[in-house]
């Protein structure tokens, strides 16, 4: 009974919000000159070829679900993603941007996502900019600037943040930002946001994550199309940066993830991107703290758990071929999840990745990569362990 008033209240607010947002967008569109109706379409395709994939999967059948157990060996071809970006100017200093991404592509498309869709505009006060709509959260560096395959030199994104936290972290809400310029192109970027935030795992009101495959261990599916409680999640980022040289910052997120607003998820991050000359280094630290998560209780012996971990990616040109540089890269990541007060029962993820990146031209890049992964998460009866290697190649095409 306690949930009914909350749902009713939430429904009323969302209806008002939707109406006002629609009215606002209509107002903006009507204030725009006719030339603004032109839309620029660009896009990309990512074609991946796992040449040699060998993983050992062990764990209790009850939690592995449809994931087969034993030695998994595979080869093949996969069109990982095709994305279309639509961009249009809606006023002198305002753009509307949208990304429509197709994944799991076969005869039919397994997944169609609007990755982001927002109005990006200058505000008339204090040199502020705002993004309104489904926005990428300014959390660490990778999420907003390395997520797409054409933005990064690696084939795969760091596994924990991509598969467990879920990249890109995009949600309905607003981001307000301002850059404070300093000397020699350096400046401080301050960003604050309010979004619906992470909710509970589908079909449950008390589970944020659960040690079940596939999907349960990931938070990525917990960002829904509407808020699941009466409060918004908020956060921000402070970063010192200079274009092409470096970006150093800290990020924060906080929001209740259950309908009663009693269970809280907090994310804290720090990133360092440094690119002196041809060398390129990106490292990100991530801390997750969740309370009231009954899904993880059997794994970490507590409903309150936390994750600590980082990844670091370094790259440097190795040699030239046909006047283009072949860039080599290496990445390491290490994440541990346990109960917030410490103790036994830990989720562990470690991976080592290395590869080569070759830009054929502005529009085509060829990559090759090797990955070693070790993942373990305790369950009530037995630990799920995934351990193996992957060799793969990819071609990224932009247009």
């Amino acid at each position: 009974m306690a949930m009914r008033p909350a749902r009713a209240y939430h429904g009323t607010i969302m209806t008002r919000l939707t109406r006002l947002l629609a009215a606002g967008l209509l107002l903006t569109a009507s204030a725009s000159p006719p030339a603004s109706a032109k839309v620029a379409f660009t896009g990309y395709g990512n074609f991946v070829m796992p040449a040699d994939s060998y993983f050992k999967v062990r764990g209790p059948a009850a939690v592995l679900g449809t994931t087969p157990q034993g030695n998994l060996i595979s080869k093949g071809f996969r069109l990982d993603a095709v994305g279309l970006f639509a961009t249009t100017k809606v006023s002198e200093d305002a753009d509307f941007l949208m990304d429509l991404t197709f994944r799991n592509i076969g005869n039919t498309v397994g997944q169609t996502r609007i990755q982001y869709a927002y109005l990006d505009t200058a505000l008339p006060w204090w040199e502020l900019r705002a993004q309104l709509g489904r926005v990428n959260l300014p959390f660490n560096f990778y999420n907003s600037r390395r997520f797409y395959p054409f933005q990064r030199i690696e084939i795969s994104a760091p596994i924990f943040v991509n598969a467990v936290l879920g990249l890109p972290i995009a949600d309905a809400g607003a981001v307000v930002s301002r850059r404070f310029e300093a000397a020699n192109g350096w400046g401080l970027d301050a960003r604050a946001y309010a979004v619906n935030g992470y909710g509970s795992l589908g079909g449950s009101t008390t589970t944020l994550r659960s040690p079940s495959l596939p999907g349960g261990i990931a938070l990525s599916g917990n960002l829904g199309s509407s808020n699941n409680n009466k409060d918004v999640a908020f956060g921000g980022q402070l970063a010192v940066s200079r274009a092409g040289e470096g970006d150093f910052g800290v990020s924060y997120y906080r929001g209740a993830w259950d309908r009663e607003n009693r269970r809280v998820l907090q994310l804290a991050g720090a990133h360092m991107y440094w690119s002196p000359g041809d060398f390129d280094l990106l490292t990100e630290y991530l801390h997750i703290h969740a309370t009231g998560d009954e899904g993880m209780q059997q794994s970490v012996r507590s409903t309150s758990w936390s994750t600590h971990g980082f990844f670091a990616t370094a790259s440097h040109p190795l040699f030239s071929a046909r006047a283009k540089e072949v860039v080599g890269y290496a990445r390491f990541e290490n994440y541990h999840t346990g109960r917030a007060s410490g103790g036994s029962g830990k989720e562990v993820l470690r991976s080592y990745t290395g590869g080569l990146h070759y830009p054929v031209n502005d529009a085509i890049a060829v990559k090759a990569e090797g990955v070693y992964l070790f993942y373990a998460i305790p369950t009530a009866t037995q630990t799920i362990i995934i351990d193996g290697r992957l060799l793969q190649a990819s071609v990224v095409i932009t247009f």
């Binding site: 204030a31 970006f85 961009t87 941007l97 990304d99």
Partner: protein, 268 residues
């Protein structure tokens, strides 16, 4: 929570854009040039720096193209390669590319060298530029012969025929002709026949051309801003607006000595 929608509506209300008579996008090569131009740009002129766009990133490219597509006209002072990219990627927006050298300087030298007929190699789309150059050439008693190709694979058929009667060969400017196999073929064809190859940019001289013409970048930016400001006021740029005045000619002294071509003392 109740106040948030009102704030959002206020934000949208505050967005009412100033509408100008003509919206002009002025594209310059780099951020430094764009910064200098912004200070002199008239209302209605948006100054964009080409080097700030990673053309292989569809998100950045989309935002850049959206800004161009929302303009009534694009003035580009970026040189041939970037201007070619702009022409390929935009649709329905008139693009005026400022020629990155003063063709009259080249023709003045051709007259002083005693050349009467010069073969001009150009890609499809350069017809108006060629017509303008022909007018300048005729005024100096020089005949320009057009060698127009749609693809670089047409060069081996078109160029030898033109070189039978020409005393020099001139590349008007296009990355397909100034870089890669297109340029390699032209420079080989010219050197084999001991015919001077002329083109845009001093860098061509180091790769075997006889003459490379460059603009004065500051003067070119100043000129482009003037053209953009006039266009924002409603003036339509004509052919003379896209011509650069002044600049530098760079000669290949080794070839000049071997072929006995006199280099004017006032240029290097």
């Amino acid at each position: 929570m109740i106040r948030a929608p009102s704030l959002m509506a206020a934000v949208f209300l505050a967005l009412a854009p100033p509408v100008s008579a003509a919206k002009i996008a002025l594209v310059l090569l780099d951020r430094e040039q764009a910064g200098a131009a912004s200070a002199r740009a008239a209302p209605g002129v948006s100054v964009l720096a080409f080097d700030q766009v990673r053309t292989g990133d569809p998100i950045e490219k989309g935002r850049f193209l959206a800004a161009l597509q929302a303009s009534d006209r694009v003035i580009s002072a970026t040189g041939g390669k970037a201007c070619g990219w702009l022409a390929r990627e935009t649709d329905g927006v008139p693009i005026h590319c400022v020629i990155p050298y003063d063709a009259r300087q080249v023709l003045d030298f051709a007259r002083s060298a005693g050349w009467k007929r010069v073969a001009v190699v150009h890609m499809e789309g350069y017809e108006q530029v060629f017509a303008r150059m022909s007018k300048h050439a005729r005024a100096r008693g020089i005949e320009l012969a057009s060698v127009r190709v749609e693809r670089i694979r047409e060069l081996p058929e078109a160029v030898p025929r033109a070189l039978k009667t020409a005393q020099a060969i001139w590349i008007l400017g296009d990355p397909l002709l100034t870089e890669g196999p297109g340029f390699e073929y032209l420079v080989e064809a010219a050197l084999a026949r001991k015919i001077p190859l002329l083109g845009p940019g001093a860098n061509l001289v180091a790769r075997g051309a006889f003459l490379g013409a460059d603009s004065d970048p500051a003067a070119m930016v100043k000129h482009a801003v003037e053209v953009a400001n006039a266009a924002a006021g409603g003036a339509e740029p004509d052919d003379s607006d896209v011509e650069t005045k002044g600049g530098t000619l760079t000669f290949n002294k080794v070839l000049a000595r071997r072929w006995g071509v006199r280099i004017p003392g006032e240029v290097r």
